[in-house]
Amino acid sequence: MPSNAARRIKSISYARYGYYFIIPFFIVYILFQFWPLIQTFIIAFYGNTDLGNVNGDGSRIQNLKYTDEFVGFQNISELLFNNNNESAGRSIRVNSTDFWQSLENTLILWIGNFLPQISLSLLLAVWFTDAKIKIKGKGFFKVIMYLPNIITAASVAALFKTLLDDTPKFPGPVNGFFMDLLGRDLKADQPFTFIANITSEQPWLPRASVMFIQTWLWFGNTMLMLMSGIMGINGSLFEAADIDGANSWQVFVHITLPLLRPIMLYTLVTSMIGGLQMFDIPLLFRQGPTFASVNPNLRTIAVFIFSKFQADKVKNAWGYAGAASVILFVMTSILGTIAFYINRDKDALAKKKQIKKLIKQQKIKAQKATLGGYSGL
């Protein structure tokens, strides 16, 4: 028997506390994330966003105001196709090849780090979860392999930049090591262009460096995710395969891979969304003081956007930054929807479907029964 107090409490509605508890989150979200997003969209459709008073040294931004003019889809279409003819009066032009180049760079850098990363992580995850392989100090290896992911990306970029430095006469230690290895003279010969600021003639060495850094940073994280996925697979399946005499390759191809597919797809999509935002490493892995000296082969979309509203202390560029952001947003939302779709609760959906099916079947049965009843007519 519930006590009096309990009965009284049951009758009180606590719904309003739910609103009290969640309201700070929503206020802050709307103010600091949702409204900026809307503003980005607005900026994308305006042509002449004036940065306000720029000082003599061209650096200080004092107040920001629109000197407006709604241009509609002009920013976006110029980014994509650069139809020069109808944008008279705008002092800053954008080159659509720059934008496409940044898209291409992002894609190349992402694929180039994802493929080695996922294969390495998969191999390691299989090794770590294989009961037949005896690894001493598993915990130690896991800790070490996740370590790069903890370190600040800015520090990582700095670290590899100093190691691979390609300034003539002053190569970094690792660059110097490679030069020694191939018999080049440290003082006289040209170092390997791992970073290469100005010339973009050799796009692949700097790209390979960034791919390596990204893989170095993320493989531990992916490995731990895949490991938890493999450990979620029913162990009796592996035992059964073992008893049937399957070798480790067969187990991998026929059991681990198919059952790991959802988590692999999830990793793929989240990594892709992360890859679209690639920013810190490509921006900081450069020779030279300004953001303009980022190697053109490493300029990702995020760097492109950033350079359009931060480094270019000029009028008119914000509209393009907004437009590029909108394009990035659309791409991310498509990928996000896919991730959401993959990650949805499949059991619940299956149950719903089954219930529907049962209801349908019963209806059909009932119909048949009624039809049967009237068949004599």
């Binding site: 290896f141 002053f170 938890s228 008893i243």
Partner: protein, 320 residues
């Protein structure tokens, strides 16, 4: 059934099976050791270089040990120095010529990371508690909203964010810490994690009991809800702190302007970026000293907390 168990791999008794397992394990160990080296050597090389003079680095680029006993130019004259003195001198060079001041850097990063971690944890727990414990009309749509915006990245709204912060209802917030701390209140991913955690482990009856005893709703949350979530909080706090400490994009937007008064408010990653973009000073020893100094506290903290972190990543992986 029982017959199946008797079937043994034919190789197993002959010993060649054991040999195979042994060889395979050895091969795997070798691979793991190589990977460990790849993970550690870059960090090690930088730490070693912090103990070397610029002169020595230009002479022999790659060295696995610092030169014990070498000459270095200090205050205009060549002196015999040991590795520790070289490190001190390198840091001095970094401070004087590269504008890298470690202590303010750490202080700024700590202020921002600690406050935003506290805000993230407290308000995420609050929101998750509100969404899970109470029944109200928009509950489900609010939860769907949280899940949907989880994937929206900060990079996309950078343009609007900086513009809004330049004129936040008449206030100029660029160059202050507020835009880096306050948004931490809304962390959809943490809310989602806390919700999943509560749904699977939280004893909801206890709230009813607290009500009967006359405990107010907010006090119930503070004295019962929060302590119950402790394990989840530990994991999420570590990740929130690391993410905030390592954040480069937003601080660069807000504090990046070099002529603003925000110069001395820079966080550690911004200082590193500043050292990197300084082209006039190419003192590799000083650069290495700076980078080591920025990495080491993180590594020490990581090694002490590694157990929680590794478990936390695995937890995050199985989001279903």
């Amino acid at each position: 059934m029982s017959r199946n168990l008797d079937v043994v791999n034919p190789d197993e008794k002959t010993g060649s099976y054991h040999l195979k397992v042994f060889l395979k394990s050895m091969g795997v160990m070798l691979g793991l050791i190589i990977l460990t080296l790849i993970c550690l050597v870059p960090i090690y090389l930088i730490v070693v270089n912090a103990f070397r003079t610029e002169q020595n680095i230009t002479n022999t680029a790659l060295s696995f040990l610092p030169e014990f006993g070498t000459k270095m130019q200090i205050d205009g004259e060549m002196k015999d120095v040991n590795a520790w003195q070289v490190l001190v001198q390198n840091l001095h060079t970094a401070k004087v010529r590269l504008q890298f001041d470690a202590l303010p850097g750490f202080r700024n990063s700590l202020i921002i990371s600690v406050s935003s971690t506290i805000l993230t944890i407290f308000f995420s727990c609050l929101t998750a508690y509100g969404l899970c414990v109470y029944d109200f009309k928009i509950k489900d749509s609010a939860f769907t909203f949280v899940v949907a915006v989880m994937m929206v990245p900060t990079q996309v709204m950078g343009v609007g964010f900086i513009r809004f912060m330049m004129n936040f209802f008449g206030m100029k917030l660029t160059g202050t810490y507020w835009p880096l701390i306050i948004p931490a209140i809304a962390a959809p991913a943490v809310v989602f994690f806390m919700c999943q955690n509560m749904k699977s482990t939280f004893p909801f009856d206890i709230i009813e009991a607290a009500r009967i005893d006359g405990c107010g709703e907010f006090r119930t949350f503070l004295t019962i809800g929060l302590p119950m979530l402790k394990p989840a909080i530990a994991v999420q706090a570590i990740f929130a702190f690391v993410a905030s400490w390592n954040n480069f994009y937003t601080p660069q937007l807000i504090l990046g302007s070099s002529t603003d008064r925000s110069w001395e408010k820079r966080t550690m990653p911004l200082m590193i970026a500043g050292v990197l973009s300084n082209d006039n000073v190419r003192d590799k020893g000083a650069q290495a000293a700076v980078i080591s100094l920025s990495i080491l506290p993180l590594i020490i903290a990581y090694v002490t907390l590694s157990r929680f972190i590794i478990e936390g990543v695995a937890l995050g992986g199985v989001k279903e």
